[in-house]
């Protein structure tokens, strides 16, 4: 008690004086009590948030910041980083247009810039095809399955299953199926065709399509399940009213169901776009993005050259470019397309 009084007096003399003047005994004045409560509150907050914050700053933020720093150096990842040569934005220039040095630009365009743009074009092709192929397929299937029939629950479970398989294990499976002497070739021959001239994966044109087929197999189920979940929220009364007014099945889908699951479709598209930019596991398992990079992605290109060819500075520059791409696309998408949904939150329900 005396210790408390002493600390209280020294911490809040003004209040103490007032308290004495008012004739009250200056024992643990209110300010002292709240101060201790405040300290306690902050200690609790630190205790609860602290571990997560430390982990997050150490293992997420610090590496990301390091990647940005490495990208300004020429470094092989083996020697001391302090010995690495600072080259400014040269790594970025090399990726984008072969570097700024006229003497090496020609060679670097072939060595660095071309594979980079090729990989990037594959990412964008996958984004485009997801919207042009996966979206219509998933919508059509979801709209058709959005009714009661025997085995619906089973169908939903099965169609969704590939999503939970790891890309690596699914990829290994398809590697066997698309073996030149495998069952896919056999089936093609059965209908009088043959596998692509260079092989399912190696063919310069068809390799990419094989991989896109596999990606679709893996991920179209997610879209179908999300759309079905959205459709289950569309009021049946609405569809019924339209049917009574003489709307056909197609009209009901176009005018009611599809617009009302719009928010779900737009979020799916968002996830799909971001996922397509960061696509790595699947293409890596399928021969590291192809023997000649037929279906490389920015992420597989980054790992190939950054880690396995020990060009850490350049690899980090690619990582930063990838981050900026997802960041800019995410912001643009949110500002333009998703803004509508957030402004009028889910009228659909």
């Amino acid at each position: 008690m005396t210790a408390l009084e002493a600390s209280g007096r020294s911490a809040a003399p003004a209040v103490d004086a007032q308290a004495s003047a008012a004739g009250t005994r200056p024992v643990t004045p209110a300010s002292e009590h709240t101060r201790r409560a405040t300290v306690r509150k902050w200690a609790e907050i630190a205790l609860f948030v602290g571990p997560a914050m430390v982990l997050f700053l150490t293992f997420v933020v610090y590496p990301v910041v390091s990647a940005a720093r490495f990208s300004l150096y020429k470094w092989n990842g083996v020697s001391q980083f302090s010995d690495a040569e600072f080259i400014g934005f040269e790594n970025y220039a090399r990726a984008l247009f072969g570097g700024t040095d006229p003497a090496t630009q020609q060679a670097f365009t072939t060595a660095y810039s071309q594979p980079f743009w090729e990989a990037l074009s594959h990412n964008f092709a996958i984004i485009f095809l997801s919207m042009a192929v996966q979206l219509p397929i998933a919508l059509a299937v979801a709209l058709t399955l959005n009714r009661r029939f025997r085995g619906r629950a089973f169908t939903r479970v099965v169609i969704f299953a590939p999503y939970v398989l790891s890309e690596v294990i699914a990829g290994t499976m398809w590697l066997i199926i698309f073996d030149p002497n495998g069952i896919a070739t056999e089936l093609m021959r059965g209908i009088g065709l043959d596998m692509p001239a260079g092989g399912w994966f190696e063919d310069p044109t068809w390799g990419f399509w094989t991989v896109f087929f596999i990606i679709t197999w893996k991920y179209v189920g997610l879209a179908i399940i999300l759309f079905l979940a959205g459709l289950s929220g569309v009021s049946e009364d609405l569809q019924e009213a339209a049917a009574i007014d003489g709307a056909s099945w197609w009209q009901i889908q176009w005018r009611i169901n599809i617009p009302l699951i719009g928010p779900t479709i737009r979020i799916w598209a968002f996830l799909s776009i971001i996922g397509s930019i960061q696509l790595f596991d699947m293409v890596w398992v399928l021969n590291r993005g192809g023997t000649a990079g037929q279906y490389s992605t920015i992420a597989s290109y980054m790992m190939e050259i950054g880690f396995f060819r020990a060009d850490w500075g350049y690899g980090s520059a690619i990582a930063v470019i990838m981050f900026f791409l997802s960041f800019v696309i995410a912001l643009a998408y949110m500002a333009t397309i998703l803004r509508r949904d957030n402004a009028h939150p889910r009228k659909a329900r």
Binding site: L55, V60, V164, M322
Partner: protein, 295 residues
């Protein structure tokens, strides 16, 4: 979402069937069943082919890839299951996934609690810092992360678990915060009146009440860890008995390039735990994903 019963779905003459018929074109049940069959076939076909392939001899696979295994042989599966390698990798994957899930859920819930139910200066800032994590995929950070872990001496399975927890936190906190915030205020008032401290409240009241949301984020973290490949690829090099299953499968494939049916058996076995987990948790996974999408 209603669970469909077989009786209802086929009874076209029931009031339910008649009522819905106006919404569908004639014969649309056949279309739906047809599409469903195609979808199920395309999904299951490759998986069944893989599993059956594990029962083939190498010669049978070359001669008769489309038929039923002949002779039907257990040898491949037996060879794998009777040796420790597969079981070790299964154990590694399980340990890493369980530890990752526990860490993500525990630290995520702890962090989400003050962010949801305390009012303090800088609260929104802390929340925003965590949400920026959504924009940093592991792919961007992986090269420096590898160096950091190497310098810290965090190798092997722990080197996987700790970064996976860190990368799992943002989503967890974002999903949990509104859930915790929605719990009634009276809970705390009643508890404090009973002399329970805030920390006691967290353990005894909040954790049990938050269980549904924790299961959802936990399932997502578990799947993410179970399927992880990029970080194991960098960290778990060398000894296959130290690998997790996805990396183990690709390594096995590299080492047995000539024995395709053996690879098929190994890949099938590696698939089964994930499929079993999925069948058990299907509802949770779908709810988690749709919840995350809608929220």
């Amino acid at each position: 979402m209603s669970v469909d019963t077989p009786a209802r779905s086929t009874a076209a003459s029931s009031p339910e069937g008649r009522r819905r018929r106006g919404l569908m074109p004639e014969g649309s049940a056949y279309v739906a069943v047809g599409i469903a069959l195609v979808g199920v076939g395309l999904t299951l076909g490759p998986i069944l082919y893989l599993i059956l392939g594990g029962f083939r001899t190498q010669g049978d696979l070359a001669a008769n890839p489309t038929g039923f295994p002949d002779p039907f042989m257990w040898q491949n599966y037996w060879d794998i299951l009777s040796k420790p390698l597969f079981w070790r990798q299964l154990l590694n994957s399980t340990l890493v996934a369980v530890a990752t899930t526990a860490g993500v859920v525990l630290f995520g819930t702890m962090a989400a609690y003050p962010l949801a139910r305390y009012s303090f200066k800088g609260r929104e800032l802390v929340f925003v810092i965590f949400t920026t994590g959504l924009m940093f995929p592991l792919t961007v950070a992986v090269l420096p992360l590898y160096l950091l872990l190497r310098d810290m001496g965090l190798t092997g399975l722990w080197g996987l678990v700790i970064p996976q927890i860190a990368f799992g936190l943002p989503v967890t906190i974002i999903i949990l915060r509104p859930f915790l915030a929605a719990l009634p205020k009276e809970l705390e008032e009643a508890s404090f009146m009973d002399g329970i401290s805030r920390i006691g409240f967290f353990w005894r009241m909040l954790l049990p009440l938050a269980r549904p949301a924790m299961v959802t984020v936990g399932v997502l973290a578990f799947i993410g860890s179970w399927n992880a490949y990029l970080l194991p690829l960098l960290l778990l090099t060398g000894d296959p008995t130290g690998m997790t299953l996805p990396l183990g499968v690709t390594t096995f494939q590299g080492q047995h390039a000539a024995a395709t049916t053996m690879i098929m058996a190994y890949t099938s076995l590696a698939m089964l735990p994930a499929l079993a987990f999925f069948l058990l948790m299907e509802r949770r996974i779908v709810d988690g994903l749709t919840g995350a999408v809608k929220g």
